[in-house]
Assembly symmetry: C2
Homo-oligomer: 289 residues x 2
């Protein structure tokens, strides 16, 4: 089976390398070709446009940055939909809007193409190790057909319903992460301000009702002054804005998520940390500035 | 060794029963005697005042509700300090203010009595099973001397520094829990509003970067419509207010914790759910009202 992957960033590259290792033929396209060189060196075959990827591949995966990037890969003269053929499955793994996911599914259906939304969690580590969590929206038949591929790149893949439901599940995930990240930042700042041994605090909290993945994983990195991006601040801001837009459409008030969006925007704009990892949120407090 | 325990509520009773089972002589006092009957039936010996408890016991433990309750047990004609003798150790396990903890330690020192602050986490389950987490502030010699007792009631006991540091560590814990509780409430409300299968969302989120104890433990209870108190809304409000007061003294801004205090206060005042469990926070959203 020939798989096309559009987007050779950190996440896309991890997925491509795992597919290559499982002996799939992988065709790749990226807006900036130079960023695809590493996976080409590993055996992926370059194509000059999303349209060509769609012409040559049985299954197309897109993993790009923002919803506008997604749209630009699918539509237009050199876009995916200009090259697709009936019976094909296209999977958008970008964290994007449920609305765009539904539009793409409808646009695909007109050509006999099934489009799934399948955003992931697990970051670069999950992509590299094939241990992503994949949240899927779309048709069950296509979801079932892609199981062999999902098993290579993910430890857990769940179908949440029709088109857009994968993106909604990812938004639920990001809202929860907003809570653990703000909690972590305030907890660690308080602990340091109160002159506690913060490492001791992490140990104790990790064994009880305050336990969470963010504190377990990012707490030690913060204490080691490591703010490199597993997951970019700028991408988290994108996700939080999508979540808040969708919540508004659902007439749902999310005050904590709104606060997280404000604080992360401040971190990106005032502290110029858009390209840092999300754990850099602690830098809004003088205890870690 | 004779241990006195003042406060026979849910938490105190769990601790008393475990001490009795370990063959300690346990002397008890409670503001409302009727609420001590169950532990008296198990073998605890009633005393008529905190002063009498202090006169008869080698080690005194207090586990009451609010900081004002703590003060009323220690001071005054029938208070603990009216009955203590030099060399005694008194341990306040109530979640209370670091300031009061320091005052009690100083007041005790004048009489040759060591007072430790040792608030706990782990709730009723932890108290009943002897698996509490104890966060201690005060003198190391007393901390070491009480290890045999801590080992009976807790799975983890940590000394965080001098008087008040146990309370500070507990505040750090509660700030983190505020983040996971708000995150959980907004996540589950979003998931239901977006017509996802919330149980499926809990399963998926529990395996990734959004994982946390609150979601793992309270999520299923909420879906089972179980809002009984493991930990009371009213007590969490007390804790959040102490955390915010202490943060103000430290010139520390905790916007997420402040939001949590507002939302829980609304839950107690407008929804009349002060006596519900903290997972009832979801009831502020129409999806769970």
């Amino acid at each position: 089976m020939k798989i096309g992957v559009i987007g050779t960033g950190v996440m896309g590259s991890g997925i491509i390398n795992n597919l290559l290792q499982a002996n799939y033929d992988v065709y790749v396209y990226n807006r900036t070709k130079a960023h695809a060189q590493a996976v080409i060196d590993h055996g992926a075959v370059w194509q000059d446009s999303p349209r060509q990827i769609a012409s040559v591949a049985d299954v197309v995966i897109t993993m790009v940055g923002y919803p506008k990037d997604v749209a630009s890969q699918y539509y237009g003269e050199t876009g995916i939909f200009a090259g697709t053929h009936a019976g094909q499955i296209v999977v958008d793994m970008t964290t994007s809007t449920p609305t765009l996911a539904q539009e793409l599914a409808e646009a695909g259906a007109k050509q006999g193409v099934t489009v799934l939304d399948a955003p992931v969690s697990g970051g670069d580590t999950g992509a590299n190790n094939g241990t992503l969590t994949v949240m899927v929206g779309g048709e069950k038949a296509a979801f079932d057909e892609l199981q062999p591929i999902f098993k290579i790149i993910a430890k857990d893949t769940t179908l949440f319903g029709g088109a857009g439901r994968g993106q909604h599940a990812k938004m639920a995930n990001q809202i929860m992460v907003a809570g653990t990240m703000l909690g972590m930042a305030e907890t660690m700042s308080y602990a340091r301000a109160a002159e506690l041994d913060v490492n001791q605090v992490l140990q104790t909290l990790g064994g009880g009702a305050a336990q969470n993945w963010s504190l377990d994983n990012y707490g030690p990195r913060i204490l080691a002054d490591d703010y490199a991006a597993g997951f970019y601040v700028k991408h988290f801001i994108k996700d939080l804005r999508i979540a808040l837009d969708e919540a508004a459409k659902l007439q749902l008030d999310l005050p904590m998520t709104a606060l997280a969006e404000q604080l992360y925007t401040k971190l990106a704009d005032e502290n110029k940390l858009a390209d840092a990892g999300t754990q850099a949120i602690v830098k809004l407090w003088s205890q870690f500035a």
